[in-house]
């Protein structure tokens, strides 16, 4: 990168840090799917009716990770 540009460096470090928030989303999605799967293995006959609910849960868990991604993008390109 351009040397001596402290603001640029701060932005990029901030963007990198903001991306750690996506790890939280990953944990959340893992929880949703894992719990769905453990429930589905206990009662496989009820599982097929609940896959849509699982995807909605994934989408909501992922939404907050997307905000951290958005923050990273804003830091890198929009500020």
């Amino acid at each position: 990168m351009v040397d001596g540009n402290l603001v640029e460096m701060g932005k990029l470090i901030g963007a990198g840090l903001a991306c750690t928030g996506m790890g939280g989303a990953a944990i959340g999605v893992g929880h949703v799917v894992g719990n769905f799967l453990s429930g589905a293995l206990r009662n496989p006959s009820a599982a097929s009716g609940q896959t849509a609910t699982m995807f909605i849960g994934i989408a909501f868990a992922e939404a907050l990770g997307i905000f951290s991604f958005l923050v990273a993008l804003l830091l890198m390109y929009a500020m």
Partner: protein, 158 residues
Amino acid sequence: MASTSDNSAVGMPQLDFSTFPNQIFWLAIFCIVLFAIVKFFIIPRMEDIFANRRKIIDGNIAKAEEIRLRVDEIEKKIEEELQKAKSQCDEIMNTSGLNIKEQMASALEDSKIATSQLISEAEGRLKELRDGSEIAIEKISEELASDIMKKITGEKQG
């Protein structure tokens, strides 16, 4: 758009706001055309296919129901016929048994009569024979006696 390197992307092309009016213009056209296609071509066609299939399936189900009813009817008829045949058979068996018994009884009677007749006839003849033999014995004995008498009284007399 393969990287011609002189115009490679600076930052994210997605955040280049100068392209937004163009994108939204084309997207709006695309959306309207696609919606028209969906509304006026795809949905009527799919519904038509689905309705056709439903109609044929319903028709088949109705036909199957009808055939099932007919089979039931036929089965009932067969059952009835079977019942009738059975009762007829029973009747025939009963009447024929009686007939046979009757015939046998009459035959027995006949044979009894015949044998009793035969027996009485034989008895009669036996009696006759016995009577006949008594007379013959008497005759023979008389002859014998006279012979003896002759012998005793002298031979000249005979």
